[in-house]
């Protein structure tokens, strides 16, 4: 059925619409000119006094795949205390707050008005698993980033200087696994971790036995990424994550690709930057490096980042940065999960607790907000919690409120470590984001950085009809003072519309739908002789055959290709 969303305050940054009262028409799953919709035939939503935005897009959230599922397995307590009941004909059941089961993941995003999410770290060999979980994740569109930095075959070619094959095989791996972008995690570290080494590897350290450095990996992938015209840039989790003083490594990482940028285009995305913005030399004199990072980003258009905000309370850290997780296990001393995938990647899982009175955690909490509030170009600064590392994604409403209200921040300051606050600049920042800003960092900018802003992340004619309506009247609510309302209203969308259908009403799921999985596809054909060579390599390195590695299209519920090259 057609929809007509009438008289809402529309925030649509891609089209420069900043809170104007407009009508939005929906037909056949797309946004159409409202004049095309006949109000007598359509479902009319009275959005007077409400906020209308494109559906939210999460650019980095660990929601599916081998690591996430083992996280679920490791945390029965999380699933015991948090659940959703099955409702016949409406939705499935589920459990888990920090590592929700797949159905629940979809429902929770939809309830907040989010309609798309990116699983940011899948090891190629197990990506079929990732897709099977994404297939069971309803309500949202999805895609995944492929872990390639420690790929034995790619590094063979890279270290031999065979950039042609290196490039072609990146294409092959992306196509074989139906993935969307290149993910580099603590570049090169998983190779060293095979021998239990690699913790603290820096960008110019040599990686045994290849004799290349993380810098070589980052710049080579970046170059190929640009050549291939992939819709997203390389997505980089920097070296030395979570180590005091690492902001310098982050600066070096960002600089490493600056000379490659063409016409100032973004060519590197630094993910969960909070974890890589620490100054100081040890945990005792830790400080915030956010100013330096923000300065670089403000002055260099070739970098984008997402913040990786933490929130206080329980979290489950899970990354493909295995040595880091092992180090963290020594701090938390509870449970540690470590896994390695042949020739490709490693990962770790450690449940963790961020405490308000804790010096380090206070600084971490400040850094994420600082990175956002110091930004002069929010189109390159995205809201994430690196779910479930910093906090579950369900804390977005809270973080939005914090970004929009200095009052709220001050309220929280009272409970934090004083020493930690002194080391942070957040208390001195007065900036409060507007609803327009929020629409940028949660909708428009992620769509643009993913290279899908022609049909996602906006409400212009022809866009996918993914819409969120919040019960916020910016003319009546004092956003800075009434921060609890912001938090509350963003937690429960008044309406979420996915692909033109009303799926959430009054914060509750009213209809279950399944979104699309996006993957990249290239126009170039892969040379047959290279495939023969690859088959040999597979026989030598892997325990499955090349032909069984290729994920068939039929294995994925709704697959849609984004063509590149």
């Amino acid at each position: 059925m057609d929809l007509l969303i009438k008289n809402g305050f529309v925030y649509d940054p891609i089209n420069g619409v900043n809170g104007e009262v407009l009508d939005i028409g929906v037909r056949g799953g797309k946004i159409v000119d409202p004049s095309e919709v006949d109000p007598r035939e359509a479902k009319v939503i009275d959005a007077r006094g409400k906020v209308v935005m494109p559906g939210g897009i999460d650019i980095h959230t660990h929601i599916a795949g081998p690591k996430v599922n083992t996280g679920r397995l490791m945390m029965p307590s999380d699933h015991y205390f948090s659940f959703m009941k099955f409702e016949k004909g409406v939705h499935r059941s589920g459990t888990g707050k920090y590592t929700p089961s797949t159905f629940l993941t979809g429902y929770r995003y939809a309830r907040m008005g989010w309609t798309m999410a990116v699983e940011p770290a899948t090891p190629p060999l197990k990506t079929l698993h990732t897709h099977e979980e994404l297939d069971d994740t309803p309500m949202i569109d999805k895609l995944c980033f492929l872990l390639l930095d420690s790929n034995r075959i790619l590094l063979d070619y890279l270290s031999q200087g065979d950039l042609d094959r290196f490039r072609t095989l990146i294409v092959w791996f992306l196509e074989a696994t139906k993935s969307y972008a290149v993910k580099l995690v603590d570049p090169g570290v998983a190779i060293s971790w095979s021998w239990g080494r690699g913790y603290g590897l820096d960008i110019d350290d040599e990686i045994e036995p290849y004799g290349i450095t993380p810098r070589d990996i980052i710049t080579s992938f970046c170059r190929v990424n640009q050549e291939l015209k992939l819709p997203h840039t390389i997505h980089v989790h920097c070296n030395r994550l979570g180590i005091p003083g690492n902001y310098e490594t982050t600066l070096k990482t960002m600089k490493s690709t600056s000379h490659l940028s063409v016409g100032g285009e973004v060519n590197i995305h630094i993910t969960h930057a909070q974890y890589n913005s620490y100054s100081g030399e040890s945990w005792f004199d830790l400080g915030s490096g956010s100013e330096e990072i923000a300065k670089y980003v403000n002055n260099h258009a070739h970098v984008s980042l997402d913040i990786g905000q933490i929130d206080f309370g329980t979290a489950i850290t899970m990354t493909a940065d295995a040595p880091f997780e092992y180090a963290l296990f020594h701090l938390s001393r509870w449970k540690w999960g470590g896994a390695e995938v042949e020739n490709e990647a490693a990962s770790g899982i450690v449940p963790f607790k961020y405490r308000k009175r804790n010096f380090v955690n206070t600084i971490q909490w400040c850094i994420g907000l600082e990175l956002t509030l110091l930004s002069k170009d929010l189109w390159r600064v995205i809201l994430t919690t690196d779910h479930p590392n910093g906090a579950p994604f369900t804390r977005y409403p809270k973080i939005i409120a914090l970004l929009m209200s200095k009052n709220y921040r001050e309220e929280i300051f009272k409970k934090l470590s004083r020493r930690g606050l002194k080391k942070s600049i957040l208390p001195s920042i007065d900036r409060e984001l507007t609803l327009y800003d929020i629409a940028i960092i949660t909708r428009a900018a992620p769509a643009r950085l993913l290279g899908i802003d022609n049909f996602k992340g906006h409400l212009g004619v022809g866009a996918d009809a993914d819409v969120a309506i919040y019960d916020i009247d910016p003319e009546k609510i004092d956003l800075s003072r009434d921060y609890m309302k912001i938090k509350e209203r963003f937690s429960r969308a008044l309406y979420t519309i996915k692909g033109g259908e009303i799926v959430v009403k009054g914060g509750e799921i009213v209809k279950e739908v399944y979104g699309t999985t996006y993957a990249v596809k290239f126009r170039e054909e892969i040379d047959k002789s290279l495939l023969k060579e690859l088959e040999e390599k597979f026989r030598e390195y892997y325990t499955i055959s090349l032909s069984n590695y290729w994920i068939p299209e039929e294995g994925i519920r709704h697959l849609r290709y984004i063509y590149c090259g």
């Binding site: 659940f83 959703m84 459990t95």
Partner: protein, 578 residues
């Protein structure tokens, strides 16, 4: 009468494994499984000749079986293959774990003149099931349409958790005629895929199974499930991920319990992971790197025959190039076939693996161990192993049912995982469970991503809950808590403790299986399905959680659908009823 007190260990064996393909009502199965393996000296002490009959008595029951002289020495320990005979004497109590005690049970063995009961007798006399006759059906040979054959390569074997994906299968006239590269278990499954098949749906009427059409069978199945207050949906380790997904949906819809066979294999491993975490890798990592391989409480040469050659001891890797570059250790209660190829065999006293793991944790830290022996092992040997462990460059422990099924269960694994975690302070070490059925890992995976829990998931309250010891299939059946059951791709009547089977056969049971299993014979509704990995494709997860696509090699018998399709039909029908 002269009797002997021994420790009884039950487990998988080659004949038990092959029995899955040729059928459990055959003479071969009877001869391979209605046995007890005794040490030569024990046999002599009993005054029984090889092949003579003995009575096995435990606190939980007794049964007469044939005595076999073991090829190896394991005085004081007796071995019985898993199956309906062993089920009568094992300890059904799970002590809150969901896992009955299947190994390390005190037993008394006596010579006897009593008869060894056959399958039919066990079903009829002990479980009160009217068997009458197992419907005999033969798959027609069909017309030879052509003699041309085609070879399908890179086929994944859908037998054990190794999921070897390099098989070459020759197909002629819609039949598998030749299998290359598989082990005997794998090729037996493929070559015998047409034997012992169920070719028609059946519904039990007045005590006997009567042929019906698919529609009526599905209808009847749906009625049973829709009318049940607390149904159990059990099995799932020998079918595809696609089918398992529908299974979860069905369980959720009817508010039942969704449990998979890991409850009687590696359920305790999952509980250990919940306590301690894990440290693991895919098998390729072992193949390429491992210079120390420890098989603990598992016997891959029998249960996972190609494991050593493809992934571990004998594999050709990048850094560990051959057997010569690796040290092999076997830890077991008896000298297994795998132990024969080891550099070091450590014979652990039954029920003391936990102690051994603890002693190793102490030894690697250089702590003093006061007593001279731990778990029946000399401390010098423990130190020797500890030294091997810390000086390895990449070590791995493969562990099996020898740890999960004995006393301590999950605690054994927890200690073993902690040992492996500790070792990472010195070197690289991982621990990998040897999973049995080809897709039991898939059952855990799907269960976890859809519900948050890997097995024993209870939907009674409309959302997933998990409490092994209460919501586990074994306990639910032991206690007679469930009032109907759907069994998919599993044979609980052959493998569950007698007490559980007694209760299972009292309630209406719907069974989906390609072949006549004992459970099928005892069911209320039997629906034949295609063989996954042979006649239908799908995804399965290898023991190291690597997903692999199974191929469709031949057409299923006429009119026979996949598990997934039949489950969907049942679900649709159930939706009409409630």
């Amino acid at each position: 009468m002269a009797g002997l007190n021994l420790v009884l260990v039950t487990g998988r064996s080659l004949s038990q494994g092959e029995g899955l393909d040729i059928g459990k009502t055959t003479k071969d199965y009877f001869e391979g499984v209605a046995i007890i393996e005794l040490d030569g000296e024990d046999l002599e002490a009993l005054g029984v000749v090889e092949g003579g009959k003995v009575k096995v008595e435990t606190e939980y029951g007794s049964i007469v079986v044939r005595a076999i002289k073991s090829r190896r020495k394991h005085k004081g320990i007796a071995f019985m293959p898993m199956g309906p005979w062993a089920s009568l004497v094992i300890d059904p109590n799970t002590y809150g774990s969901g896992m009955p005690t299947l190994k390390g049970i005190k037993a008394r063995i006596l010579p006897t003149d009593e008869k060894i009961p056959g399958i039919k007798e066990i079903l009829e006399r002990i479980y009160n099931i009217r068997v009458k006759e197992i419907p005999k059906e033969t798959l027609s040979e069909g017309e030879s349409v052509s003699t041309a054959s085609r070879v399908i390569d890179n086929v994944a074997c859908s037998f054990c958790g190794c999921l070897c994906d390099d098989l070459e299968v020759e197909v002629r006239n819609n039949r598998v005629v030749k299998v290359r590269k598989a082990c005997s278990l794998g090729s037996s499954k493929l070559l015998h895929s047409r034997e012992n098949r169920i070719l028609n749906p059946y519904v039990r009427e007045n005590g006997v199974l009567v042929r019906v059409d698919l529609r009526s069978a599905v209808k009847k199945a749906a009625e049973i499930l829709a009318n049940a207050k607390y149904p159990l949906l059990y099995g799932w380790s020998n079918t595809s991920v696609e089918a398992i997904r529908v299974g979860v949906e069905l369980a959720e819809y009817i508010g039942g319990v969704f449990d998979n066979t890991s409850v009687i294999c590696h359920g305790p491993t999952i509980q250990a992971v919940q306590e301690a975490g894990f440290v693991t890798s895919t098998l390729g990592k072992v193949k390429n790197y491992a210079d120390l391989i420890i098989y603990w409480g598992c016997n891959p040469l029998n249960a996972h025959p190609r494991h050593l050659a493809r992934y571990s001891a004998f594999a050709k890797g990048i850094y560990a190039k051959s057997r010569r570059d690796r040290k092999i250790v076997v830890i077991d209660v008896r000298e297994t076939d795998t132990a024969k190829v080891a550099d070091l065999f450590i014979k652990v006293k039954p029920n003391s693996d936990y102690e051994l793991a603890t002693a190793l944790r102490m030894a690697i830290r250089g702590y003093d161990i006061e007593s001279g022996k731990v778990a029946g092992v000399n401390v010098e040997k423990i130190r020797e192993l500890a030294e091997m462990m810390v000086s390895a460059k990449f070590g791995v422990i493969f562990y099996g049912l020898g740890l999960t099924m004995t006393q301590g269960k999950g605690r054994n694994i927890e200690e073993l995982i902690r040992l492996a975690q500790d070792l990472n302070e010195w070197t690289k070490f991982v621990a990998i469970p040897m999973r049995g059925h080809y897709n039991v890992v898939g059952a855990n995976q799907v269960s976890t991503w859809t519900t948050g829990y890997a097995f024993s998931v209870d939907f009674r309250r409309g959302y997933p809950r998990y409490n092994p010891g209460v919501t586990s299939a074994t306990d639910l059946l032991n206690n007679g808590d469930v009032d109907a059951a759907l069994i998919v791709a599993s044979d609980p009547v052959a493998h569950m403790p007698a007490k559980a089977v007694e209760n299972l056969v009292k309630i209406p049971v719907v069974t989906l299986d390609p072949k006549w299993s004992l459970t099928a014979v005892a069911s209320t509704v039997v629906i034949p399905v295609a063989m996954t990995g042979v006649e239908v494709g799908g995804t399965a997860y290898r023991m190291d959680k690597v997903p692999i696509r199974l191929k469709k090699l031949v057409e299923p018998p006429p009119g026979i659908l996949s598990d997934e399709d039949v489950l969907r039909m049942i679900l649709e029908e159930v939706k009409k009823l409630r």
